[in-house]
């Protein structure tokens, strides 16, 4: 769907990281975790391209979708100036999201901004009564957005930070390995770190369970036409926007 919609909330969560809510009942009713939307809301053609953002929360009852993004360039800097009432163009939902979680329990493992697309998955698993184990890492405590929401929807949350500002020293991939030994997991979902992705892949192969990764890329069109956002997979180049952004972890060449 390509439509214009209204910004309902913009707030700086921690320095440089923002929460953006958009009222769009159509997209909120169609979207599922792991998908994304192409968004633009500035006059003229500079920046030229729309910006791809993963859904951080999909609230079909309120007709609202929520994004969390980091200001990294001109596009996101302009985005952070949008205020409630601002009209934006939204193309979405796009891409293949995460396959639906299956009982008894799933693990999500993510780092930094890579935890953003995992939250709606965690929330939907909780709604379905499926167990969730969350393994989250970041350079510092501020890099973990909405940790409280992960806490309230997970059976257990493991947190590690590089600077030790939150959680004990260590790496979440080892936490995941330990939990996997004592808990029956149906799948692992990953985002935000190649190192974590490799660890999750190896563990999933050992456990013989499926594992999925959500990839990020600079995108041109978001719908597969421009072939600009490819990643390397076992079958050659795949389009992150159209074939992904969620791939079977084992298919991706890291």
């Amino acid at each position: 769907m390509y439509l214009t919609a209204e910004v309902t909330l913009q707030e700086e969560v921690v320095e440089g990281i923002y929460r953006l809510c958009i009222f769009t009942p159509t997209i909120a009713s169609l979207a599922y975790p792991g998908q994304f939307a192409m968004i633009r809301g500035w006059e003229g053609y500079d920046p030229l391209l729309s910006r791809p953002l993963s859904f951080h929360r999909i609230d079909f009852q309120c007709g609202q979708v929520e994004f969390v993004y980091k200001v990294v360039g001109r596009g996101t800097a302009l985005m952070s100036k949008w205020r409630p009432g601002h009209r934006v163009a939204v193309l979405g939902p796009l891409g293949n999201g995460f396959p639906a979680p299956v009982a008894p329990a799933v693990a999500v493992i993510g780092r930094g901004m890579g935890t953003v697309p995992l939250l709606p998955l965690v929330e939907s698993a909780r709604r379905e009564g499926i167990g969730v184990f969350s393994f989250l890492s970041a350079s510092h405590a501020g890099g973990l957005v909405d940790l409280d929401r992960f806490m309230s929807c997970s059976d257990q949350v493991f947190v590690r930070t590089d600077d030790g500002s939150l959680g004990a020293p260590g790496v979440v991939s080892e936490d995941l390995e330990r939990v996997a030994k004592s808990t029956q997991l149906s799948a692992i979902y990953c985002c935000g770190s190649r190192r974590l992705a490799r660890a999750a892949r190896d563990l999933a192969i050992f456990l013989r369970i499926p594992a999925y990764v959500s990839l990020e890329a600079h995108m041109g069109c978001g719908v597969g036409a421009c072939k600009g956002c490819v990643c390397e997979t076992k079958d050659g180049y795949s389009k992150v926007c159209k074939d992904g952004p969620v791939f079977e972890l084992n298919e991706v060449v890291f």
């Binding site: 769907m1 163009a89 719908v223 597969g224 036409a225 180049y237």
Partner: protein, 307 residues
Amino acid sequence: MACTEVVLGPLTLKNPVMPASGTFGYGEENAGAFDPGELGAVVAKSVRLEPAPGNPPPRLVETPAGLINAVGIPSEGVDAFIRDQMPLLRQTGTVVIVSIAGSTALQYGELAARLSDVPGIDALELNLSCPNIGHGLPFGQDPGLLAEAVSAARGNTGLPIIAKMSPNVTDIAAMSKIALDAGADILAIANTVNAMVIDIWKRRPVLGNIAGGLSGPAIRPVAVRNVWRVYEQVKAPIIGSGGIVTWQDAVEFLLAGARAVAVGVANFINPNAMKEIIQGIQGYLDSQGFESVEDIVGLAHTIGRSQ
């Protein structure tokens, strides 16, 4: 209502708007905003003789009001294209233009031969100007290779041939004449402009292919000037392209001498762009009292001279 039909030599379009090759899906990549059958023509992504993966990522980098791409023409190869893509293209119900890209001049001939008898193709566009494949100059930048490539295609097909020219030349009109003499019927003016971006922190080029082709509003005035010059120097129908985002941009190209326009990167940022451009051209003609698109083709030249 003004007539939007345009005649480009052997090719008649119901309106002058088409996508630039590789920027708009006629099948599953279409964002579903409108029916591709409403377009003057659909243009497929350039097809190659053999399957090719395209360039390593990153393939895109954004620049001020522009986009540099170094996609490198990934292709499923002509056999798979005919089998998988042609049924979708035929279903669109409008003029179908198939873009071809050879690695050698002779391959343009082979591709033309393979596609000539395939039902549902109305014209071939020769991509002579992709800056992103091979190691030497693109065909469109070497007069000898350009003539060879167009001749090779002409010798093997009766379909109308569109020569998509490179803007990265000293004199695009002279190169256009070479393409016409070798058998092209229509000129597409022009492809992307050679460009690159360097990451100053990594101290290396951003694109996997080092350099690429710049498109978008950043190149529009360059493209308008190229259309203007070719219109003055060469007697052949022109499809204008380069940074067309709005109907006003399209009208500018028509006034410069294009009989049709190809819309590229605008499709990425507004899936309705081409439909809005078709409607906008119609509105401009009606409000300005013109009876057809043909009335404004090259009109800026005559007015310029009379004053």
